[in-house]
Amino acid sequence: MGANNKPFFSVNNLTHSFGGLTAVSGFDLTVEPESVWGIIGPNGAGKTTIFNLITGVYKADEGSVALWGEELVGLKSHRIVGRGIARTFQNIRLFKSMSVIDNIRTGAYGRLRYPWYSCLLRSGRFRSAENQVRQECCAILEKFGLADRRHQPAASLPYGVQRKIELARALISRPVLLLLDEPGAGMNPAELDALADLVLWVRQEFKVAILIIEHRMPLVMKVCQQVRVLNFGRTLFTGKPGDLRGDAAVVRAYLG
């Protein structure tokens, strides 16, 4: 619970439709600090739409999204990141022409505040701010074991490494809530296992709550404390991952 008894992160009655198609309807969620939630569901269940609504890519038709009781619906994406919600993407979206460290530094864009003229003049303020962010980026790369790759072009690196870079880019903005959109897609069981450890490590190291959209059940079982199952934009199940298999509706819709 937050300072004034406001929930850490809460979504109420979130609803969004594209034309006549309701992608998300009446979605509710309350997340505790530093907890890990899994959101699963068949394709088209509205999972990524929920992430897009939370991060301001789409504006919700109805409902509210609040962090520490402060409303986020209607804010621009970059402001929402500034409030402390960062995300990664289903299909990795790194900046292709940039080096690893520049990708990560771009994640600190909103935190790096100096007036435009100090960048033209390379003033002391500019240099100290840039230096500090560069050191933070190096530190985070060190933690991810990528320090010696920082000058390589991000696009040239293997898939798993790109995932890590994307994660580091999200974390450099100092989020309190991290949204991971299918981080395990395309990974083999061994890689998936390593990813699960990575996610748990990230939660502990960076003290973030995590929302994961994921198809791969081993990952969900290992990292999530709570699971939400969606189908056609509606909630089918909420509970512990261990209880999933016992739920008739979930088995019918999803697990088969």
């Binding site: 991060t55 890519v57 621009k76 994406s77 970059h78 990141v81 500034g82 960062a86 995300r87 993407f89 979206r93 790194l94 900046f95 292709k96 022409s97 940039m98 460290i101 520049d102 530094r105 771009t106 994640g107 600190a108 864009y109 909103g110 935190r111 790096l112 100096y114 435009w116 960048c119 033209l120 003049l121 390379r122 500019f126 240099r127 701010a129 840039e130 230096n131 962010v133 560069r134 190096c138 920082r150 880019r169 999200a170 903005s173």
Partner: protein, 314 residues
């Protein structure tokens, strides 16, 4: 590697010294000086367009309009407002730059609601608006042109402005704003979602770019002493774009090479008469087929990358 940070500054100082001496003594052939000045002005235009069309990956075709606004504004200031003295030339240049920058700001507010082709169309419209507005302003000479401008532009002014333009663009590119600019070229949605204020970044880049084009316009006006609206039509914009893509967009050195090579090429081909406007574009087509990313292909000379502890060794 040893610290080579002093080299760019030393080059600028040496260049300025040389150009001042050349201006005073007139050692160089005046025709050659004229070409060098054209190269300098073209470098300013190309480097500034590079910020928007290269690094930001947008497609503005209205660069000549900002140059024209800068040319007319600075000519107006030096003819009608400021005292008639070469001492006030920098103020006139600045006035041209600021007017162009303001126009750039207003255009950016509107234009960046659209992207790609639509931005091209909006900037094309701007080009036409500026040209027909100037055509219909009798106090600026209308289609006959604006006359009686003093010749204040000399080699050292051109060099100083070109060096400043290059440093400005370099400083923007290698900053937080620059990373924002490149990020939104690579993936605008992702840029927004990792905290880049994409709208502010676009406006910032566009204003800097148009301000510099305005400065180039001011230099141009005080060099040829006679400007008319036709000097700032789509043909001029095309020229600037040619120089940019010839050198390779997304590279400061590329812009400088492109501006230099294209200007010299057009002069060398002068003996061809009107045919040079055929030969030169054909040369360009050949280049685009065999090296579409331009001479530099997005790479940069080390000299133009500011050292910040991390660009060099550990």
């Amino acid at each position: 590697m040893r610290n080579r940070q002093w080299i760019p500054g030393a080059l600028c100082a040496a260049g300025l010294l040389i150009t001042v001496v050349l201006d005073k003594t007139q050692w160089l052939d005046q025709y050659l000086v004229q070409i060098l000045m054209y190269i300098g002005i073209n470098i300013i235009l190309t480097v500034s367009l590079n910020l928007v069309n290269g690094y930001m990956g947008e497609f503005s075709v209205g660069h000549a309009a900002f140059m024209g606004l800068g040319a007319y504004a600075s000519a107006f200031f030096s003819l009608s407002i400021l005292p008639k003295s070469a001492l006030f030339f920098p103020a006139a240049l600045l006035a041209g730059g600021v007017c162009a920058g303001l126009a750039g700001f207003l255009i950016a507010l509107v234009a960046f609601k659209a992207r790609d082709d639509y931005l091209a169309i909006i900037t094309l419209a701007l080009l036409m608006i500026v040209k027909s507005a100037l055509d219909n302003m009798p106090w600026f000479g209308g289609p006959q042109g604006y006359q009686g401008i003093q010749k204040y532009t000399n080699l050292s002014w051109v060099f100083a402005c070109a060096a400043l333009a290059v440093v400005t663009v370099r400083n923007v590119v290698y900053s937080n704003f620059g990373r924002g600019i490149i990020a939104l070229r690579d993936d605008e949605v992702a840029a927004d979602l990792v905290s880049v204020n994409t709208r502010a970044v676009k406006i910032f880049a566009f204003v800097i770019s148009s301000f510099l084009a305005g400065i180039a316009g001011g230099l141009f006006a005080h060099l040829i002493q006679f400007i008319n609206p036709r000097s700032f039509s789509i043909g001029k914009s095309t020229d600037i774009m040619l120089m940019l893509y010839l050198g390779g967009s997304g590279s400061i050195v590329g812009s400088m090479l492109g501006a230099g090579i294209w200007t010299v090429l057009l002069e060398i081909l002068r003996f061809c008469g009107i045919w040079r406007f055929v030969v030169a574009p054909v040369a360009l087509i050949v280049l685009m087929i065999y090296r579409p990313s331009g001479i530099m292909g997005g790479r940069e000379w080390r000299l133009f990358v500011p050292r910040e502890g991390d660009h060099g060794r550990k």
